[in-house]
Symmetry: C2
Subunit: 156 residues, 2 copies
């Protein structure tokens, strides 16, 4: 019960019903927009302001308790799965997002080939393609907008 409360306290955030409800909501969805979160919290609390949702989500991201991903053509998505260096598969057709573990091992993506002098602390990998539901039935030619080589089935 107080898991979320202690989590908040241990990160220096005071405990409010709004924040608890948001943590609860985050734990129920793999990825969720601020608006969807607002709607979900309103079902349990009755009401919450949009500003509080953003305040809280941003605070959680600040403290490393949540992560924000920013797909093209979509509002930001929030997730509470953090610290495991996982990545995301996004469907170009329906926008569906799936988690995927890192391909190469433990946090390999922090090794850029040339860091240009940057001190890198995070790598963010997004795979773009088509989810099973959106794939054409006859999977030889499928119409997309890109010139590049397409239609790769991953091995594993």
């Amino acid at each position: 019960m107080s898991t979320h409360a202690t989590l908040l306290r241990s990160h220096g955030l005071s405990v409010t019903p709004q924040r608890l409800a948001l943590l609860q909501t985050l734990s129920q969805y793999p990825h969720i927009t601020a608006d969807q979160a607002t709607e979900a919290v309103r079902k349990s609390l009755g009401t919450i302001s949009r500003q509080s949702v953003y305040n809280t989500l941003n605070a959680l991201v600040e403290k490393g308790l949540a992560r924000r991903i920013q797909p093209i053509d979509s509002p930001a998505l929030f997730e509470d799965r953090v610290g495991d260096n996982h990545h995301h598969l996004i469907c170009r057709s329906c926008g569906d997002v799936a988690d995927v573990d890192c391909a190469v091992g433990f946090r390999p993506c922090l090794e850029a080939s040339d860091d240009n002098g940057f001190i890198i602390d995070e790598a963010d990998v997004t795979y773009w393609g088509e989810c099973p539901k959106c794939q054409p039935k006859i999977s030889n030619v499928h119409t997309t907008t890109k010139t590049k080589t397409k239609t790769r089935k991953a091995i594993s």
Copy 2:
């Protein structure tokens, strides 16, 4: 001169002064926002509507002649460097963006560990950190907002 014109024609796009100016502009900046592009084009053409800028940029992305990247806390950035599977380093402090070649070899990032049934056609890697200019002078402790392990210098 007609390089850009033929490029447009060969992709089924008609040739207009606005499009030529935008291609010219794209080739001059490694990464540019729609607004910056508008401003730049207005310096050469005198005028262009915002809608035309977006139309053209989107068309170029459609045809694979440009790429759009969508950093958090920034409007979309466009670049004309395409087809070489390069990635991006973004500075959390100043927002500066640098290109970086792929770490592991040729398009390795298309190999997700588990594709969840997706047909993957592109992988998008963003490294987050601090650029040389924004790094604190004494580089032991530096204040950021994250809990995770930080301050990794890449090897190569």
